[in-house]
Amino acid sequence: MLKIENLRKRYPNFSLSCSLEVERGRVTGLIGKNGAGKSTTFKAILGLIFPDGGKISLFGKDVREFTLADRQKIGAVLSDSGFSGYLTPGDVADILEKLYERFDKAFFAGQLKKSGLPRDKKIKDFSTGMKAKLKVLAAISYNAEFLILDEPTAGLDAIARDELYTLLREFMEEDEERGILISSHFSADLETLCDDLYMIDAGEIVLHEDADVILSDYAILKTDPEQFAALDRQYVLSVKKERYGYRCLTDQKRFYVENFPGVAIENGTIDEVMRMIAKGEEA
């Protein structure tokens, strides 16, 4: 569905070099700390910035050749940008109706009501959470095929995040041909929503793995110096020195569970894996 091949963008203090893919019927997560290159990647897909090199194709077509009809198939949520604060959700509905042939006004109105968003209040007077909800509601209201969501849950509490993820799951269940690319700070939430995950650090993709595999096969090994010296490190991906010894990331939990019963082993979480890959040293 989406294919990014060797996308390059250079800024004075940052350079992005990224390849990734989103398949139809899948939710793909892009995880990385602030400034890692998530938003730059998203903006390149949406044609908001001009890449220095590489190719981005969506629905099998180069995004530089997109027509308005192609753009109607994309639903976008940007972390730091949205509808003008001087508009109301009611205004947004009228605008979307003119911009999108397949805009479902009744669905949008229903979701506003369900989410407790006032139709006639200016967006600038909304709380951060209300603004975030409105952005997502707008993006899923015109039968888009592909959602690109940059930090859609920023500013939301746990309950609101759950509600939003439920909306996204329903969106995917309605049509198996749809796809989502989503980034978030709340990696733990992405574990349950995403089918696969990309981790980006300093402008480069450092890991791509199915979310299930991360949860089942990745683990953190906590070793003292003696255990570390004796450890078979062929499946250790990165190592970080700690006060007690060494913290090691592996993608072969079972191997260490079976062969090194004395070593403390913690299940991998996306946050932990990301931290180890970003801050650990290669084994």
Binding site: L46, L48, I49, D80, Y86, Y100
Partner: protein, 217 residues
């Protein structure tokens, strides 16, 4: 285009209190002073400035990024700003002219031809303001565009002054020549003014599209 126009009209609607206050003051001044030219010029300029203000609202809080993620081309966005400015400013100009004519009728019982002429001459002024300001707004943003506009206005004034001075030294009296043209061939003079305004508008639109096409958000 339609979606963008609706967006801008909605933004204006949501600030109707500011307009109503401004309109009330303008009408009161016009009725009390009988100065219809002031009313029409003031309202037209307010209309132009308000229309230009929508660019600032679009840009506020990095709004351009989201706007251009919608099914809107950069070219359409630039064109829409001119169209909205002309529709909104033009409507206010015509409304002010109607109020001025009505006010004159209430005061004297007669029809005010001068008010109508002022109203019609304000329309090219509106296009002129939009043509000059929109490229600056798009290029420099709300804050820096003001500085850039002042600097450019100063530069145009100096260049104009130098040219007029040079023509003066060459014994060519531009003011007299223009007055003479207007007196002897008013059709040609008005036609030339309209053509010059249209040319300026087209040039400005071309520049604006170029600016938006090059922008990254």
């Amino acid at each position: 285009m339609k979606g963008l126009l609706i967006k801008d009209f909605k933004m204006m609607k949501n600030q109707k209190n500011i307009f109503l206050t401004g309109a009330g003051i303008a009408v009161a001044v016009a009725l009390l002073s009988g100065d219809s030219a002031f009313l029409i010029s003031y309202v037209t300029i307010v209309g132009a400035m308000s229309a230009l203000g929508t660019i600032s609202y679009d840009e506020f809080d990095n709004g351009f990024a989201f706007l251009f993620s919608l099914p809107v081309t950069r070219k359409t966005y630039a064109l829409e700003k001119y169209l909205f400015g002309i529709i909104f400013g033009g409507a206010l100009c015509l409304a002010a002219t109607a109020v001025a004519v009505a006010a004159e009728y209430l005061r004297t019982g007669g029809f005010s031809l001068p008010a109508l002429i002022v109203g019609l001459t304000e329309l090219p002024v509106l296009v002129f303001i939009l043509s000059i300001t929109i490229p600056f707004k798009l290029k420099f943003g709300p804050e820096k565009s003001r500085l850039a506009l002042f600097a450019s206005a100063g530069l145009i004034f100096i260049v104009g002054f130098v040219i007029l001075r040079a023509l003066d030294n060459g014994q060519i009296d531009v003011t007299s020549a223009l007055t003479e043209l207007l007196r002897t061939r008013p059709g040609l003079a008005v036609g030339a003014a309209i053509a010059a305004t249209a040319a300026m508008l087209l040039l400005s639109i071309g520049i604006s599209i170029g600016i938006v096409n090059k922008k990254e958000f």
